[in-house]
């Protein structure tokens, strides 16, 4: 069930890129973990946090969020969790490996935090030159090589 490449993702969520979309993510993840109960709690939390950060970025940086469509695919197999977010916003210009801001900063931690929670974080322009595709992937459970403590 969805554990082989090429099959449909376990959970799909389509919405408009306004804040209520962010509030719909927890339920989507709850469904994913019901369908992929083998994923350890620590990995669930890390992927959910990274996804929340990237999703919040899409909402925050879309010039008119109410006209931006977002499509999320959440998937897991025995060794990893993979999240793909597609949005119809203008192509984003984003540094996916920024340093962590100093402790006094009130903002700017989102992408750095997402980066520290997944093993793969990629952004590519959408097909046909419109929109963005965000790919997040975390190796999970016994497949994780060493505790990921990058900061």
């Amino acid at each position: 069930m969805g554990t082989e490449r090429g099959t449909a993702p376990l959970v799909v969520l389509s919405a408009t890129a306004v804040p209520p979309w962010l509030d719909a993510l927890p339920a989507a993840f709850a469904t994913l973990w019901e369908r992929a109960p083998w994923v350890p709690a620590e990995d669930r939390f890390a992927v959910e946090l990274a996804t929340t950060e990237i999703a919040a970025n899409i909402v925050r940086h879309s010039p008119s969020p109410e006209s931006v469509e977002v499509h999320a695919e959440l998937d897991a197999d025995a060794g990893r969790v993979r999240v793909t977010l597609r949005d119809s916003a203008p192509a984003a210009d984003v540094d996916l490996d920024p340093g962590m801001p100093g402790p006094d900063a009130e903002s700017g931690r989102g992408v750095a935090l997402a980066r520290s929670c997944v093993d793969r974080l990629e952004h590519v322009p959408g097909r046909g030159g419109g929109g963005n595709v965000w790919l997040l992937e975390r190796t999970t459970g016994a497949a994780r090589p060493v505790p990921d403590d990058r900061d």
């Binding site: 804040p19 209520p20 962010l22 509030d23 927890p26 939390f45 959910e48 946090l49 929340t52 950060e53 919040a56 909402v59 925050r60 962590m100 100093g102 402790p103 006094d104 900063a105 009130e106 903002s107 700017g108 931690r109 989102g110 750095a112 935090l113 520290s116 929670c117 900061d151």
Partner: protein
């Protein structure tokens, strides 16, 4: 998210966020802290015991709260963080400025 606020003697308060502290709810915490500080309550403890989830926007609200409490001669301290919330504080290096105490009483007693 719900915020339970419990005033404490004349100058303090315990703030307990219940649920998810994220982009959509962080402003609520900022406003609550600003209100308390404006009313002379700048010795604040944020009890994280019933916080299910925090993201970078929520962390930003905590940093803002720490700043306004300190600017008013008080402080903002954290208590009762789950292992997950403690991990987020560590990954963002915020554990250096927002130390987590075991409970609200020890957070208030410290220093």
């Amino acid at each position: 998210m719900r915020l339970d606020v419990e005033p404490l003697d004349g100058t303090g308060a315990i703030i307990a966020p219940v649920g998810r502290l994220t982009l959509t709810t962080a402003a609520q915490l900022r406003e609550a802290v600003d209100d308390l500080v404006a009313n002379g309550r700048a010795r604040l403890v944020v009890d994280l015991g019933r916080l299910e989830f925090v993201d970078s926007s929520g962390l930003g609200a905590l940093v803002a709260g720490l700043r306004s409490a300190r600017a008013a001669g008080g402080d903002l301290r954290l208590a009762n963080a789950s292992p997950q919330v403690a991990t987020v504080l560590r990954l963002t290096n915020l554990d250096r400025v927002l130390r987590v105490h075991e409970d609200a009483a020890s957070a208030l007693a410290d220093g």
